[in-house]
Every structure is written in structure tokens, then in C-alpha cells.
């Protein structure tokens, strides 16, 4: 289960969050845990360099992309490596939408599109589409495979 996808700005404000199968009362903990994790470790990290953490049997992979830090949390089959896969799909989709590494302003300008992409990438706690073109087609309401 991909428990959470969370994006925050450099100050730790949550820009996007998608929780799956996380009880509401635990979300706050997760948010602060992840933001703290980012604040502690993401200083000076290169874009898209993947960092890893774990808590009990839950894995966390996170990275920074421009002004935005991205966290994905998963367990079971979504271990560090599967999460790395997911996060790279997410970052490449964001880069595609924004056209470059996003600043916070750019990210928010493209916020709607990013949400749509995310919607195609993570669907109810499972990784769905990983192919860039396919995602692009799907957010324009085109069929996944074109004729």
C-alpha cells in the first residue's frame, strides 16, 4: 500500500497530500514526521536525489525537486525500491507539467495539472500509471493507448 504522497514547500507547508489507508488521527503525526524529516535531511540535497527512511515496517522515500520536497510512504510491496519507482514517476510528471524544475510559484501555477497527474499515478493507494506519455494522454481525457 502506498500510504501517502506528500509534497511540501521548503518551509514545511503542505502543498499536496494524498493519504491512503492512514487513519485520520495518524495523519497529523505523519505530516509532522515527514516535514521534520525533510527539514533535517534535505538541506543541500541535489534535485531528485533519493533519500530513505523507515519507521517500523513502513518505508519512506523522499526527495527534493526545486522548491518542493516530495515524500512517499509505503509498506508491504511498496518498499524503498518500489517507492523510488513511484517517486521518480511523480517527479518526472511534475517536471513535464512545469516544463522545468519547479519553483514554488510555478508549482502552484500548475497545481491543477499536477493534481490530475497524481490522480493518474496513484490511484487508491496503488501505483497505477508509470508511463509518461500515457499519463499525459490520460490527463487530457484521452484513452491510455491511442490508435
Amino acid at each position: 500500500m502506498l500510504l501517502a504522497v506528500l509534497m511540501a514547500n521548503s518551509e514545511g507547508n503542505i502543498l499536496v497530500e494524498r493519504f491512503n489507508g492512514v487513519p485520520a488521527e495518524e495523519r497529523l503525526h505523519w505530516r509532522s514526521f515527514l516535514v521534520k524529516l525533510g527539514a533535517d535531511n534535505l538541506k543541500g540535497v541535489k534535485n531528485e536525489e533519493l533519500l530513505v527512511a523507515s519507521h517500523k515496517s513502513v518505508y519512506i522515500v523522499y526527495t527534493v525537486l526545486g522548491d518542493v520536497s516530495i515524500f512517499v510512504v509505503g509498506k508491504d510491496e511498496y518498499d524503498e525500491l518500489a517507492l523510488s519507482e513511484a517517486i521518480s514517476v511523480i517527479t518526472s510528471a511534475i517536471k513535464d507539467v512545469c516544463g522545468k524544475v519547479p519553483t514554488e510559484r510555478l508549482f502552484l501555477d500548475k497545481y491543477g495539472k499536477i493534481c490530475l497527474c497524481l490522480d493518474e499515478i496513484v490511484w487508491k493507494g496503488l501505483l497505477e500509471n508509470t508511463d509518461k506519455d500515457r499519463i499525459k494522454r490520460l490527463i487530457r481525457l484521452k484513452p491510455p493507448t491511442e490508435f
Binding site: 509534497m7 507547508n13 525500491l81 484513452p143 493507448t145
Partner: protein, 1212 residues
């Protein structure tokens, strides 16, 4: 975080970098507070939803103050009231939620116009997304757009928002999406009684609309159809109506498109192909993706059927989902799945195509599927099928993706889910080390039926294709792969590789543990002892089980032994400690701990951990996680107790502030029990080393240089260290006797001998020569009692008392003398007069322990006094050649009982064996007991009985009251040392649950943010309770009698309520020797004593590792039941008639009666008992239409005895 959105987000959403927002107006927790009303004229730069015009601000605030409900109403008013719209096109204006919502309503009406669409796409929808959740009242407009609008992008957004409204995962009814907080719409709508729109109102409409779209078979419509189906899966799965609708749609689509007649192979994800087949493939994808999100019904063959078809679909995502569904189904019914897959698994079949599929997760799912089927017991009679799946699994080991390869390794190792099965793990290690892998380019179909279960793949592949690739030992392949992964720069890869090694260590430990029995081929035993384990040898030995190709013999050098391979792997693993990420390092350390074998030296591991811990960047949670790993490691290999304790010690000294004292204590305890007779001394030493650290003064800065090992550099960790020391001191007091195997009731030395050597030096010398363990513990405790901080001294004194009571001479005397000194020591001369009259002043002076120690000393005094008395009496009798009269014996016995009671207040002793009057009294007490047929265990006013502690012992003691010697000494001692139950704090204690959780691999619950860990975590550990009870001594003195033990989970409270219920039947004390003379300070102690004992004994042993606790009696039964029982049983034996007549009439009617529960009965109160129909009970008594009954074994609630209505039980 919810309130963090304010400035930046709002700032940016206005699209005007220069617009600033007054921070005072930033929304705080908008999700809980209703936003104030929106007014027509907006003020530039004010944030939403707090957009308040200056002119109306005052009024609004007043409104909020006066009536929050109307404010909440007002928040929604703009949405519906259609107040003049904001000028949306002015991008430099901030955009409030209300404004956006209004725009949607308006634009929906004019959705056919290009300009409206444009505005929706570029302005309204993207900005709306920034809000945390979407208002259900938008649904009608969205549906209108859905119907009328043609623009694809608008529609895509519409589906997105509809799905958001449908999805229901939050407590607020809507799943939050981050961004700007929004209020709880449903709650707002509820407040607004007139016309609020809640989710419940709109969901059916949305579902209806989406359903009809999802059923639309129009070819041109099919992209929308996919999205509609997708949005539908977000509908709450709790509604069975919607669910069945979705199932219907999904299976309907699959009925049309899934059948394979037109299937084309080899076009995975490829472009091209005719339109029809592409549409078909798209629909297949959508249907399977939706199916994957729906609850799986393993009983329904349709799922299996469709999933099997899905494996051959053209769309790779669809294939992945089918495989995931299949692997899930296979866990419950591997046979059916294997049969259904049939040919797919054969070479050239669909499963083999998946091997080349460009979808990592699909291959991961394939690995799991193959593992499940190839291990399935239900396929025992079809080894061919199993080996086919096994073969696919082994091919996945060569997968280019680490994710897939690691999954395959984990599968081979027997780790599939979180359920740890030792046998499976051991077999996994066996597989890993034994198998020879021949990987054919095209695997052979040919199977022989005679294969053993353990190695399907190597045989599978041996028939053919040996030319293509040289056969490889599986382990070599795995090791190479892991080593190369460890050279990666990617942290996730490092972490994952370390995790695989960690799991490998677990399997290895399991193989060690199971070793001989489980792996039935005796020839393999040797190979489990590491270094002699070469493949050459292996091959010869196993030739009968696994036929191998002789050319495999590439094991020519030492490098090719398992030990050699492991050593080189571990070398690589160790270098990974240099990774800058603590999580990777933590995983590496865990892996090292698991890979550490008991007979290797652990110096290297120790130094790695030691240097690691000096790094301040370790978070506390991670360190505790490693501690828990130690615990798990211990459970797997009890023989490593000492090693693990040494490692735990490093934690205690290096990072006292970060580790959890409860977990550490638990580790100490389990290790002590598990260490065996030889290791006990070392185990205790390892614990007591903590005490050698001078405890720092609370709050003071600690100089790290003064003690080379301790790093308590800040007040917080200094406090934590002190807590740790307290825990260690307490642990020492409780367990020293156990570790030293020194018990008063087994002591051979008569008290007289000890009394004669009053010379202190001689005494110490004698003591340490007799039992160095105990003497060492004593010395440490004595030092703590002098030099520790106040809290530590208190516990040290208590611990010493415990030891004094439990130990024989000369230790008792030694402690007695020491306590005496301690009480008097340092007493200021000017207070010398006062201390007689005022206990409090004693406490405030000198060592500060006067008032605490005096009751303890009093007990010891009484014991010694009584011993003297006894010796005098005995001499008198001897001199006069007189027999002891019954009267005298009775007096003696009363003294004995009274002292037992007193002693039991301080610590637990086995009542049947403990002789407060010294070993010489044993005979006389015995005489009296036999004469009066008193069970040794039948103490009337025993506090241990009162608190239920004694049940642990009495349960097994009662069948043999006449010869208590048949009790297993070790067991008794273990109980006495409080080790009888593994749960130091009971199972519900935080540490225990954490350990269990860890062991069972749970853990989705949210992490604590670090700072909360050491300080604010509520701990019910003993030392807290005890310290508290001491601190409360003064007030307890007034009400100790009445309150008894007031700790919330105390058994005592149950006991009191039951005994009060049976007030009239409370049996009088046989010997009326209640310790009433002891005064109020004693009763305070009683309260304290019971408080601490309960958590220690209350729990049931949870785990099943090899220790004396195995034979532990069932969890405590109700104390009052115990009380009855202790009467009933001895009386059931012969000779009960000799009881005094008064007692006789009390008991004559108490012959046990049995009955059967007629109906289920649910207890309505503490004193009542749950019954299940048919359950057999023993009827003790009847009171006013109620039976007091006893069960044979404790019910689900742990209760054994209580009241049930007479009518619910049929007497037999």
C-alpha cells in the same frame, strides 16, 4: 501542519508575487473554525477563507462572537446566495473558495461558451484544487458540466472533483488533499438546517451519473467511460449497493472484452494495432484496474477467472493488476490459482512473457505469486506444478531490477508477509545455501515426479540447456547481486540491500534454531556449522536428495564456502555503515546484529555500534528500533543473551537520553532468564554496569570527559540516564537472587552461624566467597544507596530490602547492618532528638532515607527478634526435655504467618517455602501444619493473595499441599525473582506491546516526532509507580487502609469489590494474626507494595521462547476465587475432620458442585462473570439468586470466577 498554508500558498495562488498578506489575518485552523462570511467587496491581499472587508469586519467579528452557528451559515451563504461575483479575470486578486465555487456555478451554466471553458481550465479548476477538499454543494454544477461540456480538459477536472467528493477516507467525510484548509463541509451543512448540501445528498446522484457513463458502450465515449469507472471506485466501499453496482459494471465490461479470442500477444504497451483491439485493451485495463481497487472476494470464481485472463492482456498495467489479484488469491487458495493458470506457467506461457514485461511491479507480483504456489502444501501431490512456479521464481533472481530480484530473494528466504514462521524461514536458508541454479534460456518443461520439495528449480532446469549457462550455486548468485547492490550510490538500494541481508540473517537464525529437527537429512547438520560448509562436501552429502550436476564443483577455494561468501558480503555490508543516511546505517546495524552468529566474536560489531552511537544525528525511534531488534535476535537465539546485553549496554551508556528504559529493562529480563544457569552471572553483570556510571545530578550539565563512556551532555539525557539507573537498580534488586541462585529458603547455613560472625570484614569476605554474583550486586546497590541521586537511593534501599528478605545469611545480616547505618548515617546531631518523635524530619535529613528505611528495618528486626525468641524457646525445650505443646506451636505458627505477611508487603516470596523464623523453625511449623492439616499455601491475610500475585504460584502448588518440595525449585525461584512471567510490566505495558508489535512486524501507525519520546511518553513502569507511592506516603497514611491499591489497572480493586459483595462470607482468619499492630506506616507500605507488584505479575507470558516461563500457570484468576480455592482444596483431602468445629461449620457445606451454563451470560459488573452456553463451571456458593462460580480456565476476559444468575446454570 494544517494551518501552515496561510501566507505562501495564498500569496502564490493570487498569481501576484507582489501582493502581501497581513499575517495577522492568516487562517489558522480553518478546518475546525468556520470561516467568516464573504462580502461583496473584497480587500486586496486578504487570505481566504478569512476574507473580511474592513468595513464589515467589526460586525462580522461580533457576529462570530455572538453566534458561531450563524457565522458558519454565513460562510456558505456566498456560495448559494449568488452575491455579485468577484471579477475573476483579474488575476491579481486573491481567490477565495467561495468565489471559486460561485464561478463554477456560473460557468457551468454557460459551459458551451469557449470563454467559460477557458476560464474553468486555466483559472477556476486549478485554483480550486489548492483547497484541501471540495464542497459537496459543488456537485450539481459539476454534474451539469459533465453533461453539457465538451471540452476534454474540463471534463477531466470534473471527474477528478467528482472522485474527490465521492472518496471517503477522512474523519471529516472528505479526504484531505493538502493545500489550504477547508472546513468540514458536512458539519457546516448540518448546522445550516435550511438547505445545506451534504455528501450524503449528492453521492447517489454522482454515482448514478457515473454508472450510466461507465456503461456507455459508445466507442467515441470510451475515454470518458474509463474515467467514470475510475471515479466510481472512489465511492465508499462500505455501501454494498454502490459496490455491487461497480462489480456489475466491471464484470460486465470484462465479459465483453476479456475473452481471449482476439488476443494478440507481444504488443505490450506497443502502439499500433487496429482500433478495435486497442479500445478493447483500454477497456480491459480500466476494468482490471477498477477490480483491483474493489474488495476481493476469494470465494467468487469470477475473480480468479478474469485475473487469469488478465495475465495475457496487452496492457501492461492490466497484467500487473491481474498478477497482484492472483497473488492475493493464491495466499488463500493456491491450488485453485495454480490450476486456473494451467498452461500459462509453462515455457512460452503468459507468465514467462511477464518476465520480459516492462513493469517492475508486475514482476514483483509474479515473484510473490510463484513463491506462494511453489510453497503450497495443497500442491504436495503436484510437484511438477510447484517446480514450474519455482523455476519462474528463480528466473526472477536474475531480473535487472533490484526491486524484483530482492523480492525473489526474500521469497526464497521464506519471507513473504509479516507472519514469521520459523520452519519456513529455516527452509528458506536451507534453499538459499543448498540449491544449484541452472538458468536455462528457455526452461525445460520436462519434470520428474520424484523430486523433493525443497529444490524444485535446480532439478527443473537440469535436463536441458546446460550449455547456455553454467549452473551456479544459488547463494553465490545472491551474494554477488547483493554485493554489487551495496556498491550502489542510491540510498534506497542500499537500504533495501541491507534489509535483504537482515532478512537473510533472520532465516539463518531460524535455521540455527530449528536446525536438527526440521531439516530431516542428517547429513546437512554439519553444514550449518559455518566454516566447514563447502559446496564440495555439500554435494557429496546431498546427492541422494538433490541430483546435481557434477560440473557445479566450482567450489575449489575457501572463498566458495558459505562462510567465505558470507564473510565477503558482511565486509561490504560493514563498509556501508559509512553511508551518511542514518536509516541506511540503522538497517545495516540490524543486518549485522542478525548476521552475528553466537560463536563469533562480536568485538567488531560492538565497535561499529559504539562509534555509530556517538553520532548525535540518530533519532530516538531508530535507536529503540535497534533495541527491539536485539530483543528479536535474542528470541531467535537465546544463547546470545550475553552478547546482546553487551550491545544493549552500549546503548545505555552512549545514548541514555534516547532509548526507552522500559524496552531496555525488558531486554535485560528476557536475557537474564534466557541466559541459562551459566550465563546468569554475566547477564547480571552486563546490567549492573549501568550502575557503575555515576548518575548525574538532574538538571546539571554533565561533563562528558569525566566519565569516558557516558554522554549525558544535556539535562534531558542526564535525567534519562538517571531513569535508566533507577530501572537498573530496581532490576538488580528484583533479580539478583535469581541470578545468584541464592534464596533464603534454600540456604543451608543456619542463622546462628551467621550471627556469630558479626565482624563486618569477615562477613563480607565470607559472603563474596560464597556467592560472588550476589556479593557483587550487593556492593553495587550499597554504593547506589549512598551515592546516587535521591530517587536512585530510594530504589536502592528498596532493592536491598528485597534482597535481604530473599537471601539467606550472611547476606541478610550484611544488608541489615548496612541499612542500619544508612538510617542513622549522616543524621544531624541537632535533629537527633527529633527523629524519635517525628519521622518526617528524619526523611529530610541525613541520607534522606530514614523514614523510608525504618519500616524495612522493622521487619528485619522483627524477623531477627523472632528468630532469637525461637532459639531461646528451643533451648528451653531441649533443656527441659519438653515436647512442644500445641499452644506453643500455635503461637509459633502465628508468628510465622505474621512475619510472612510482613515480608510479603515488601517483596514476593514463595509462601510455602519461606521461613521467616529461620531454617530451624521448619520442623516445628511442619509439625503444627500436619497436625492441623493446614496447607502451606493457605495464608489468610496474605497480601500476595489479596493482590492476586500468589495465584501464579498457588495454581500449581495446590495439588501438592502436603509436600511442597515437589515444586520445581527453579520455577519457584523464578517466580520469586519476579521472572515467572515474561511481562515485566504485563502485556499491556508499552514496552511489551512495542516488542510484540515489532516482532510481529506491525507498524503502520504514525511515528512520533522525536521530542515526544523520552519525556512525555506516559510510562507506567514500576519505578514510576513505586516512586510515586513513596512520594505520596504522607497522604497515604490517612487512607491507605480504605483505598487499598488505587492504581487503575489494579487487580486489587476487583478483589475489593468482590469481597465486599461477599462481605458476609468473608472467612475469618484462622489464626487472627492480621498485622494490625504494625501501624500506619506499614499500611502505607502495603499500598506501595501492592502497587508495584501488580504490574509485575499481572500479565500473561506472551511469547513462547525457551525459558522457565513456559510452564507458567494460566493468568491470574480473581483473587477472591483464589481465596476460596485455597480453602477448598486442602479440605477435599482426607483428615479434614480434624479441623476445629468452628471452622467445620464454615466449610462443611462447601463441597464442590458442578454445573453447566445453559445460556450465554454477559457480565454486568466487575463481580459478575461472562458465561458461554455449555461451559462447565464449579459452583461455589449461592447468594440471593446468584451463583458464585468458578470456571475451569479463564474466559476471554481473563476472569475465572464471579457471579452468574442461578437460572443460567444447571446444576449437575
Amino acid at each position: 501542519m494544517a494551518d501552515s498554508s496561510g501566507k505562501t500558498l495564498m500569496d502564490l495562488i493570487t498569481s501576484d508575487p507582489s501582493s502581501t498578506i497581513p499575517s495577522s489575518a492568516a487562517p489558522t485552523t480553518a478546518s475546525s473554525t468556520a470561516p467568516p462570511p464573504q462580502t461583496t467587496s473584497s480587500s486586496v491581499g486578504a487570505p481566504v477563507p478569512m476574507v473580511v472587508d474592513k468595513k464589515t469586519k467589526k460586525g462580522t467579528l461580533m457576529q462570530i462572537q455572538s453566534d458561531t452557528i450563524s457565522a458558519a451559515k454565513a460562510a456558505l451563504n456566498p456560495v448559494r446566495a449568488n452575491i455579485m461575483p468577484q471579477k475573476q479575470k483579474q488575476k491579481k486578486r486573491p481567490v477565495s473558495y467561495a468565489q471559486l465555487a460561485r464561478s463554477i456555478h456560473e460557468l457551468a451554466a454557460s459551459s458551451d461558451q469557449k470563454s467559460s471553458q477557458k476560464q474553468l481550465i486555466h483559472h477556476v479548476f486549478p485554483k480550486l484544487a489548492v483547497y484541501n477538499s471540495v464542497d459537496p454543494s459543488l456537485a450539481p454544477s459539476l454534474l451539469m458540466l459533465d453533461q453539457q461540456c465538451e471540452d476534454r480538459t474540463v471534463l477531466r477536472y470534473v471527474y477528478y472533483y467528482l472522485a474527490r467528493i465521492l472518496s471517503d477516507t477522512g474523519s471529516q467525510g472528505l479526504s484531505p488533499g493538502g493545500g489550504i484548509p477547508t472546513p468540514n463541509w458536512d458539519a457546516l451543512a448540518d448546522i445550516d438546517a435550511v438547505g445545506g448540501v451534504t455528501r450524503a445528498d449528492v453521492v447517489p446522484r454522482i454515482v448514478d451519473r457515473l454508472t450510466s457513463e461507465a456503461l456507455n458502450a459508445d466507442v467515441e465515449f470510451h475515454p470518458r467511460r474509463l474515467q467514470a469507472l475510475k471515479a466510481l471506485t472512489y465511492a465508499p466501499s462500505s455501501s454494498s449497493e454502490i459496490l455491487s453496482k461497480v462489480y456489475e459494471i466491471v464484470f460486465g465490461i470484462l465479459d465483453k472484452v476479456a475473452d481471449p479470442e482476439k488476443r494478440k500477444k507481444g504488443i505490450f504497451g506497443a502502439k499500433g494495432g487496429d482500433k478495435e483491439s486497442i479500445i478493447r485493451s483500454n477497456l480491459q485495463y480500466a476494468a482490471l484496474s477498477a477490480l483491483r481497487r474493489l474488495p476481493l472476494d476469494p470465494g467468487n470464481p469470477a475473480f480468479l477467472h478474469r485475473a487469469v485472463q488478465g495475465v495475457s492482456f496487452a496492457d501492461s498495467v492490466a497484467v500487473r493488476h491481474s498478477l497482484e489479484i492472483l497473488s492475493e488469491l493464491a495466499t488463500s487458495d493456491p491450488y485453485a490459482v495454480a490450476m486456473a493458470l494451467g498452461k500459462a506457467v509453462q515455457p512460452g506461457g503468459a507468465l514467462h512473457d511477464v518476465l520480459h514485461l516492462h513493469d517492475v511491479l508486475a514482476r514483483v507480483a509474479l515473484a510473490r505469486l510463484c513463491h506462494t504456489i511453489s510453497r503450497a502444501r495443497s500442491l504436495d501431490d503436484r510437484p511438477d506444478i510447484r517446480s514450474q512456479f519455482g523455476s519462474v521464481l528463480y528466473q526472477l533472481l536474475l531480473d535487472p531490477s533490484e526491486r524484483v530480484c530482492f523480492e525473489a530473494i526474500l521469497c526464497v528466504l521464506g519471507k513473504l508477509d509479516n507472519a514469521e514462521r520459523t520452519e519456513e524461514r529455516a527452509a528458506g536458508w536451507y534453499r538459499l545455501t543448498r540449491e544449484i541454479l541452472k538458468l536455462p534460456e528457455a526452461p525445460s518443461v520436462k519434470e520428474t515426479k520424484s523430486e523433493s520439495k525443497d529444490a524444485p528449480a535446480s532439478k527443473n532446469s537440469k535436463d536441458k540447456s546446460s550449455k547456455t549457462r553454467r549452473p551456479q550455486p544459488l547463494i553465490k548468485l545472491v551474494m554477488r547481486r547483493l554485493e554489487s547492490s551495496f556498491r550502489s550510490f542510491s540510498r534506497p538500494v542500499l537500504h533495501a540491500a541491507a534489509r535483504v541481508v537482515h532478512e537473510m540473517g533472520k532465516s539463518r537464525a531460524a535455521a540455527f534454531a530449528v536446525g536438527l529437527q526440521d531439516i530431516d537429512e542428517g547429513v546437512h547438520i554439519n553444514s550449518f556449522s559455518e566454516s566447514s560448509d563447502s559446496y564440495d562436501q555439500d554435494q557429496d552429502e546431498t546427492s541422494e536428495g538433490l541430483r546435481r550436476v557434477s560440473s557445479v564443483a566450482n567450489g575449489t577455494s575457501g572463498k566458495d564456502t558459505i562462510a567465505g561468501l558470507l564473510a565477503s558480503l558482511m565486509e561490504v555490508v560493514r563498509t556501508t555503515v559509512a553511508c551518511e543516511c542514518v536509516y541506511v546505517r540503522a538497517m545495516v546495524i540490524k543486518a549485522l546484529i542478525w548476521m552475528q552468529s553466537p560463536n563469533e566474536s562480536f568485538g567488531e560489531l560492538e565497535s561499529i555500534i559504539g562509534s555509530e552511537l556517538s553520532d548525535p544525528s540518530w533519532p530516538a525511534t531508530l535507536l529503540n528500533d535497534i533495541l527491539l531488534t536485539l530483543h528479536a535476535r535474542f528470541k531467535a537465539t537465546p544463547g546470545m543473551a550475553v552478547t546482546l546485553l553487551e550491545i544493549a549496554r552500549i546503548f545505555a551508556t552512549k545514548v541514555p537520553g534516547k532509548i526507552d528504559a522500559d524496552v531496555l529493562q525488558l531486554l535485560w529480563k528476557t536475557c537474564l532468564v534466557g541466559a541459562g544457569p551459566d550465563g546468569k552471572h554475566t547477564a547480571l553483570e552486563a546490567v549492573t554496569i549501568v550502575l557503575d556510571l555515576p548518575p548525574p545530578q538532574p538538571g546539571s550539565m554533565y561533563e562528558p570527559t569525566s566519565i569516558d563512556t557516558v554522554s549525558a551532555s544535556d539535562p534531558k539525557s542526564a535525567l534519562a540516564l538517571q531513569r535508566l539507573v533507577q530501572a537498573a537498580v530496581w532490576f538488580l534488586g528484583e533479580n539478583a537472587n535469581y541470578a545468584a541462585s541464592e534464596y533464603a529458603w534454600e540456604s543451608a547455613t543456619p542463622p546462628g552461624t551467621a550471627l556469630m560472625m558479626l565482624d563486618a570484614d569477615k562477613m563480607v569476605a565470607a559472603a563474596s566467597s560464597r556467592n560472588p554474583t550476589l556479593a557483587g550486586a550487593l556492593t553495587r546497590l550499597q554504593r547506589c544507596a549512598f551515592s546516587g541521586s535521591w530517587e536512585v537511593r530510594i530504589i536502592a534501599a528498596q532493592a536491598l530490602t528485597t534482597m535481604a528478605i530473599r537471601s539467606g545469611e550472611p547476606y541478610r545480616l550484611q544488608i541489615y547492618e548496612f541499612l542500619h547505618t544508612l538510617e542513622k548515617g549522616g543524621l544531624q546531631s541537632q535533629l537527633a532528638d527529633m527523629h524519635v518523635s517525628n519521622g518526617e524530619d528524619q526523611g529530610a535529613s541525613g541520607t534522606g532515607l530514614g523514614s523510608l528505611i525504618s519500616p524495612m528495618l522493622k521487619v528485619l528486626d522483627e524477623m531477627y527478634g523472632a528468630q532469637d525468641e525461637l532459639i531461646k524457646e528451643m533451648r528451653n525445650h531441649d533443656n527441659a526435655k519438653k515436647e512442644w505443646t500445641d499452644e506453643e506451636l500455635k503461637k509459633l505458627y502465628e508468628t510465622h504467618e505474621r512475619l510472612l505477611d510482613l515480608v510479603s508487603l515488601f517483596c514476593y516470596v514463595p509462601r510455602a517455602k519461606y521461613l521467616p523464623l529461620g531454617p530451624t523453625s521448619a520442623k516445628l511449623i511442619d509439625i503444627y501444619r500436619t497436625r492441623h492439616n493446614i496447607s502451606a499455601t493457605a495464608g489468610l491475610s496474605d497480601p500476595a493473595v489479596a493482590t492476586g500475585i500468589s495465584d501464579l504460584l498457588y495454581e500449581t502448588a495446590k495439588p501438592t499441599p502436603a509436600e511442597p518440595d515437589t515444586l520445581d525449585d527453579d520455577l519457584v525461584n523464578a517466580w520469586a525473582a519476579n521472572l515467572g512471567d515474561d511481562g515485566l510490566l504485563g502485556n499491556n505495558a508499552p514496552a511489551m506491546s512495542r516488542v510484540n508489535e515489532f516482532l510481529f512486524g506491525a507498524g503502520t501507525d504514525a511515528p512520533d516526532v522525536e521530542d515526544e519520546n523520552t519525556t512525555s511518553r506516559p510510562s507506567m513502569s514500576y519505578d514510576d509507580l513505586w516512586a510515586k507511592s513513596l512520594l505520596e506516603t504522607t497522604e497515604m497514611e490517612e487512607d491507605a487502609r480504605s483505598s487499598g491499591s488505587s492504581s487503575p489497572d489494579s487487580i486489587g480493586s476487583v478483589e475489593t469489590s468482590i469481597s465486599s459483595h461477599f462481605g458476609g462470607m468473608n472467612y475469618p482468619s484462622l489464626f487472627s494474626s492480621k498485622p494490625s499492630t504494625y501501624g500506619s506506616s506499614l499500611s502505607a507500605e502495603r499500598a506501595g507494595g501492592s502497587r508495584f507488584s501488580i504490574p509485575s505479575f499481572g500479565g500473561n507470558s506472551h511469547d513462547g521462547f525457551n525459558s522457565p516461563i513456559r510452564e507458567e500457570p494460566p493468568p491470574y484468576s480473581s483473587p477472591s476465587h483464589q481465596r476460596y480455592e485455597s480453602f477448598v482444596n486442602p479440605l477435599a483431602g482426607p483428615g479434614s475432620q480434624s479441623f476445629g468445629s468452628q471452622d467445620d461449620e464454615q466449610f462443611s457445606s462447601k463441597n464442590p458442585q458442578y454445573g453447566t451454563a445453559l445460556y450465554d451470560f454477559t457480565a454486568g459488573g466487575d463481580d459478575e462473570l461472562n458465561l458461554t452456553a455449555g461451559e462447565e463451571v464449579e459452583i461455589e456458593d449461592e447468594v440471593d439468586g446468584w451463583f458464585y462460580v468458578k470456571k475451569k480456565r479463564p474466559g476471554r476476559d481473563g476472569k475465572m470466577a464471579g457471579l452468574v444468575p442461578v437460572l443460567y446454570v444447571s446444576q449437575s
